[in-house]
Structures are given as C-alpha cells and as structure tokens.
Symmetry: C2
DNA sequence: TTACATGCAAACTGTTTGCAAATAT
DNA sequence: ATATTTGCAAACAGTTTGCATGTAA
C-alpha cells in the first residue's frame, strides 16, 4: 500500500483533487509494483480495504488517471479493459487460460521491419500482446 | 462479391450448413480481399445487399466462422470486435482517428528478443497493433 | 423427419451519465 | 462560496441467449 503522502503528491502532481476516494485508489493501485487491473477488481480491493468507493467512481477515476498519464489502458479481449500502472514502453503476455496480463521483462524485445506509417499519420504507440496458451503460468500471486 | 459456388464450397469445407444467411454473409465477407469488419457493419452491408439477416445471426455467424478458422477476431478497443478475413500471421495498423484497421503489408516485420514463455505455456499467437495518430490515412475506401 | 439454424425480444455485461448531495479549495 | 467530485440508479452499447418457427439433410 502506497504511503498516504506519496499518494497525495501523485494526485497533486497530476492536477487532480486529492479526495478520499482517489487517495484510496491511488494507494491501492501504486503500492505494489506494476499491476494490471480491471475496474471490478479494483473495486473489490477497495471494498476489502474498507475504502468505500462506488463502482462508478472507480470507473471515473481510472479514466481520469489514464487521461492524466498515471495509467495506461490495455485492450485485450472485447469485454473488459485492463489498466496498467506501468506507463512506460513495454509489451505484454496475456495468459488466455486465466485472463491475466503480465509484463514482458527485458528490454531487448522489439518490433523490426515496420514499413512507413501511411500518409500523414505518425505512430502513437505499438501494442504487442503475446498470447500464451495452456499451462498455469505465473506462480499465481494473489494479485496482479 | 464471392461467387455463390465458392461460398458453398467454403461452408462445406468448414463443416457448416450452407444456409441462405451464411451463404450471403460468406459472399460479402470473402468477395473483396482482406477485410476488417464489425458485426454492425456486416449487418448493414447485408441489408444493403438485400440479404435479410438478423443482427443476432450476424453475431452467431461471425463467431461460428471464427471458431471454424475462417475468420480471426482482433481486439482493439474495449467496445467493439473486429473480424479479419485474413487468418494468416500478420499485424495491423489501427487508425485511431477513424477507428479503422489496416493490414501491415510486407512480411519483413517481426518481433525479436522475446524471452522464453513462462512455465508450461506456449505462444498461441502474437498480436501487434501499431496505433496511428492523426492524418486521414488510407484513401478512404468506402469499405474495408 | 430430425437435427440444426434463424429471428425476435429479452437478458446480460461492462461502462457511462444525469442529477442531487457531499466535499475540496 | 464555488467549483468539483461522489453515489446512486438509470441509461447505454455491444453482444448473447431462450424459445418458437423455419429449413437443410
């Protein structure tokens, strides 16, 4: 759990009012390394932590954080959205059997041979998702 | 528009009963090169082609086709699903401004430096989406 | 004639929104 | 005091499903 003051700083820096709800969510989100979390999951964790935050507020907060650059949204399956606390350039494993996202460690991974971007466009970012089948990988940490 | 008999063959080969609806959708889907289409779009095209197919059937058919290996589903944004008539290994541009998918041409693009897949897993497939910002790329073909 | 496919409308899921009450500045 | 944020419930979009009807084999 992120120290309260760090959460406060984070919000202030992002230009977001440090409300009770945002502070709680910030502490949960950024308190334990890189995480990939859905709105429902975050809501559940907030409840478990006795931080009373409505689901709507969780959604709004995740969107605000994303807009503020604190989070990055990762689209995997059509149904739910994952929010990644790691906003730097990096790619993902997706464990199909568990519906879980994992950072790909190591920075030697890269995409090569990209042709020119069409017309007047420029590359915003490159999403790479390595879909893993089978196994029950990742020592099943209770949260991620 | 794919010739009727080709559509018939395609369905038979896939082990799907060649119903009127499936035949129409097959003709629309596979009649003009590689396409990236949503259920709503396909439904609209079917209507325009006087092929009366309910939206539910369009959804069911797209799923059946995907399961049968005739289509590939591409997850982009959380909201809608795209179905790709190109089931071979290839990557995509995503035009953020238009919400449109484009194949990346050229087969020299590749992902290198991948670490070992965790545990007992194996790579199912690798999705690469190059997100393009701005411009109004792609000569705006009326369909794709 | 029998198993499978379709259409409709209702159900469902994840997400967003309108508005009154609560809160940060 | 004022603008922002919250919570709730209702709205919403995309998708799936149950069931009676229709159709391919």
């Amino acid at each position: 759990m992120l120290p309260f003051c760090d959460a406060l700083d984070k919000l202030r820096t992002a230009g977001l009012r440090p409300t009770r709800q945002r502070l709680s969510l910030t502490q949960i989100l950024f308190g334990q390394g890189n995480r990939h979390i859905t709105a429902e999951e975050l809501h559940a964790e907030a409840q478990a932590a006795k931080a009373d935050v409505s689901l709507a507020t969780v959604y709004n907060t995740l969107n605000q954080f994303t807009e503020a650059g604190l989070l990055r949204e990762v689209a995997i399956e059509g149904d739910r959205s994952y929010f990644d606390t790691n906003t730097s350039n990096h790619f993902h494993y997706y464990l199909e059997s568990e519906g879980r996202l994992l950072d790909i460690e190591g920075d030697d991974i890269q995409v090569i041979g990209l042709p020119q971007a069409p017309d007047g466009t420029e590359i915003d970012r490159i999403d790479v998702i390595v879909r893993l089948r089978g196994g029950n990988a990742g020592k099943r940490p209770e949260t991620t």
